[in-house]
Symmetry: C2
Subunit: 120 residues, 2 copies
């Protein structure tokens, strides 16, 4: 019997915020889990769309002239090149799907920039 | 305010089985929802991995020398070229992520072959 990847199990393996962890690959795309709280930094991904799936809690994604709020069971695709700033008033657990090599802070670099390809 | 994509809302929009419905695109990948029950046909996707995320219920994926069982909150990536046969004893709701253009029955064609690119 092969083992499935259990989201709750993977989420229990880390506690830090804004540091995406890779749990699976589909071709050259990665499935990542991230825990977020507070406000992230404004950034954009010039070469790719980015899928956010809210697994637990609530989060928002602010864009220059729009905003979307996600609760568990909701998803949103931030289009390529769209500046955005994720945030969450309380801790929120999120699944991301995007091409391998995408950095969490996109075109910006700061102490919020997390290393890529961190598998759990 | 932009609208998120709500999985439960989308799942209420169709009732047929084994007919994947597209709910979002990430670059040239699609997020699909499908309801399954019973046994599907053996098939493979020669050019791509395929991500199964079990949203509700339980399902299995049989492979030539392996088998994986998924319940809600669990996922599995069927590798490119791997023959597989999904099944579910009772109705199960599944999210699929794979490149645009992937046909549900892969290298086979039958009355189970569903049209592609059916958005809901």
């Amino acid at each position: 019997m092969a083992n499935p990847i259990n989201l709750d199990d993977k989420l229990q393996r880390f506690s830090e915020h804004w540091t995406p962890k890779v749990i699976a690959e589909i071709n050259d795309y990665q499935v990542k889990l991230v825990k977020i709280v507070g406000e992230f930094v404004w950034h954009q991904h010039d070469d790719t769309d980015e899928l956010f799936v809210c697994l637990k809690g609530e989060m928002s994604i602010e864009m220059p002239s729009d905003k979307v709020s996600l609760k568990a069971g909701e998803l949103f695709v931030v289009p390529k090149g769209m500046r955005h700033k994720p945030s969450a008033d309380q801790e929120c657990e999120v699944m991301l799907i995007e091409p391998k090599g995408v950095t969490n802070t996109g075109d910006t670099s700061s102490d919020r920039t997390a290393p890529n390809d961190q598998w759990i």
